[in-house]
């Protein structure tokens, strides 16, 4: 299902998703009920669409930023338990509210400000350019947008197809964490290795590194963007500094150094450039085959 199908982004991407093979059963756009968009029926309300098209697993949301919370709550109230929020600029207060409701209802929320999910060759739930992706066994999870495409393209060109690829969102408050997706990829039978793409700012990669040590068995390689950016350009306001300091995280959280150190501790090889990722994958897959052969 696509909420906001008549919005600028929705009307571009919904047909692309439909063409890719994901079954786009319905589009939602209040006031446009009864219309069609390239063969996709449009409804005024989510619950109305469900009455007509039956069970829907996932809703991809393209509505304007201040309407994202409402669209997501509408989908959750209608029983949909997977949401992809593409829209950029959702206020943090709305995301906090949504995260509380999502936790209580066990809803998986991807985004906001993200390209969504692609299972190459099968289904597209978001904006990933299909041409960069090929089916395969590498799980790709990223905190970036277009950089995810870049990495996927490098992987595909080097013969590393993807089992699932997704961007969890570039905003500071997002619906699902690296940890959740590392766990999903770790359990996914199609996935043999995981590529993690991070960037400076926030403590996402540091927390993910700790989680990899604790819970992830499959090999992970990583790329971190922003290693050469002067620090003053990305540190947040005083409150954020205070926040990370009193949380015992220290001043250095969020820097490339901090992230790389944490990932190294988790024995995650780190690429110097996206084009180096295939080499690292070859290495970890080789040694992991050895390890499995041993055990």
């Amino acid at each position: 299902m696509v909420q906001g199908i008549t919005e600028p982004l929705g009307s571009i991407y919904a047909p692309l998703m439909q063409v890719y093979g994901g079954q786009i059963l319905a589009g939602i756009s209040p006031g446009h009920g009864g219309q069609q968009l390239e063969g996709i029926p449009v409804f005024d309300l989510v619950e109305q669409a469900l009455l007509s098209v039956g069970v829907v697993d996932t809703s991809v949301i393209f509505v304007p930023p201040y309407q994202v919370l409402d669209a997501a709550l509408e989908a959750i109230a209608a029983g949909i338990r997977q949401l992809v929020l593409v829209t950029e600029g959702v206020p943090p207060m709305d995301m906090m509210h949504l995260c509380r409701v999502a936790e209580a209802s066990e809803t998986l929320v991807v985004g906001p400000n993200c390209p969504g999910i692609i299972v190459p060759g099968q289904i597209l739930l978001g904006t990933h350019p299909a041409e960069f992706y090929t089916p395969g066994t590498v799980g790709l999870v990223s905190r970036c947008g277009t950089l995810t495409y870049e990495v996927a393209r490098e992987l595909s060109q080097a013969g590393f197809g993807q089992s699932i690829a997704l961007g969890i969102g570039s905003d500071r408050i997002i619906g699902s964490t690296f940890q959740q997706w590392l766990q999903i990829l770790d359990e996914d039978e199609q996935t043999e290795a995981i590529v993690l793409v991070g960037k400076i700012g926030s403590d996402s990669e540091e927390v993910a590194a700790r989680y990899i040590i604790e819970a992830i068995d499959k090999p992970v390689v990583a790329y971190i963007a922003g290693r050469t950016l002067p620090q003053s350009q990305y540190t947040g306001h005083a409150g954020a500094v205070v926040s990370s300091q009193i949380a015992g995280l220290g001043d250095e959280i969020g820097t490339a150094e901090s992230k790389i150190a944490a990932l190294k501790q988790a024995k995650v090889p780190i690429a110097e450039r996206p084009s180096q990722l295939p080499d690292l994958l070859k290495q970890v897959l080789k040694s992991s085959t050895k390890t499995s052969a041993k055990s």
Binding site: M96, Y149, S170, R172, K199
Partner: protein, 380 residues
């Protein structure tokens, strides 16, 4: 968006948080009409801490002293910023000074209440004694009392301090703030509370639904005599650096990666511009083209610029708009200084874009590493 102290105090006042009588001073002569009795404190209104140590806060006893002090403060830069406004405020005798704040804990995705019994100017001590309470469900005043107790407060102060926190939280929630801070919150010998200084940071993404906050920004006369600080990468502001390669990308991660690769390969960026992600709700071909053109114009103002590296990839409209914008730009530039372009375009409409740029004789790349190598060789 940061508010100035006097703006934050206006919001405190509306919310029922006690603040001292004060008056906004736009010019030293305004002090002649001062309605607050002396002694008075004059405070430089700049977006930064450490004003006291820098000499931006002065106590004055009469009009003559006040006008002189105001002139001094107006001409005193604090971390490079000059005040457009001063705040004249009554003096207050504090018995103790507390620190209180409500912030967003981005990582926990929850609001955080912060408090310390050691408020005031010594930030180190404040942070050392900082207590915190996560607001994990919908806020209720008991979260504020929880913080008051953790701070070690007792008796009537538990109620009075948590009542202030409650109001700070309401403000935080109603106005979509990233931060609301009172430091110091003075406690008088009679146990009365007074917010002596305050800081509010509004969330930029939410300003569109708070017209009152958005207009505050406009109200300040733009006399800040300093270059604008580089904004967050998500913004489309051009960020200037020291080198000679202009970089234009779409998306923060891709921009950072391109910068990283240029530096690593020995190049030196002159500036970079992030066109933003593809996920803006209202992205339109026109807006995108306009943004690219204006970005390129800004970039050309740098005299060191030797080459422009364009690296964009994505879906739909992007490639075509980028190619069109570059073409238009080059037409406009025809005759003036010619800076070579290295363009890396990957995406759906690549063929069309390639056609367009080939007629302009621009080197065109699929592969990022190759594009960077070419840009660096042109910059030498």
């Amino acid at each position: 968006m940061d508010l100035l102290e006097y703006q934050a105090k206006q919001l405190f006042h509306e919310m029922g948080i006690p603040v001292l009588p004060s008056q906004q001073i736009n010019h030293p002569q305004d002090l002649k009409g001062l309605k607050i009795p002396y002694p008075v404190v004059l405070k430089s209104q700049v977006y930064t801490g450490g004003r006291g140590k820098a000499g931006g806060i002065r106590f004055v006893e009469n009009t003559i002293d006040a006008v002189a002090a105001a002139q001094t403060i107006f001409n005193l830069p604090i971390t490079g910023m000059y005040p457009a406004v001063l705040l004249a405020e009554a003096k207050y005798d504090a018995d103790r000074e507390l620190y209180l704040a409500v912030i967003l804990d981005w990582s926990a995705r929850r609001p955080l209440l912060l408090g310390s019994q050691r408020g005031g100017v010594d930030v180190e001590a404040t942070i050392g004694a900082m207590q915190q309470v996560v607001v994990d469900q919908e806020f209720s005043p008991f979260y504020a009392r929880r913080l008051a107790l953790k701070m070690g407060l007792q008796g009537e102060l538990i109620r009075s301090v948590s009542a202030i926190l409650e109001k700070m939280y309401q403000l935080f929630l109603q106005k979509d703030l990233d931060l609301v801070e009172i430091n110091p919150l003075a406690v008088s010998s009679a146990g009365e509370l007074m917010a002596l200084d305050g800081k509010i940071t509004a969330n930029d993404d939410a300003l569109g639904r708070h017209s009152d906050l958005a207009t505050l920004q406009e109200k300040i006369p733009h006399q800040i005599k300093t270059k604008m600080l580089p904004r967050d990468l998500a913004d489309t502001t051009l960020v200037e650096l020291e080198g000679n390669i202009g970089i234009l990308c779409n998306g923060a991660g891709l921009t950072m990666t391109t910068l990283d690769l240029v530096y690593k390969a020995g190049g030196r960026p002159a500036s970079f511009l992030n066109l933003g992600s593809e996920y803006r709700h209202n992205n339109s071909p026109e807006v995108l083209r306009e943004r690219i053109q204006r970005g390129l114009e800004l970039m050309m103002q740098s005299k060191n610029l030797k080459v422009v590296l364009v690296n964009t990839l994505g879906n739909v409209m992007l490639c075509r708009q980028t190619a069109e914008a570059i073409a238009t730009h080059l037409q406009h530039q025809a005759g003036s200084r010619v800076v070579p372009f290295v363009v890396r375009l990957v995406g759906d409409q690549f063929d069309e874009a390639r056609q367009m740029l080939r007629t302009l004789n621009l080197p065109l790349f699929h592969n990022l590493d190759e594009a960077i190598a070419e840009a660096i060789s042109l910059s030498k």
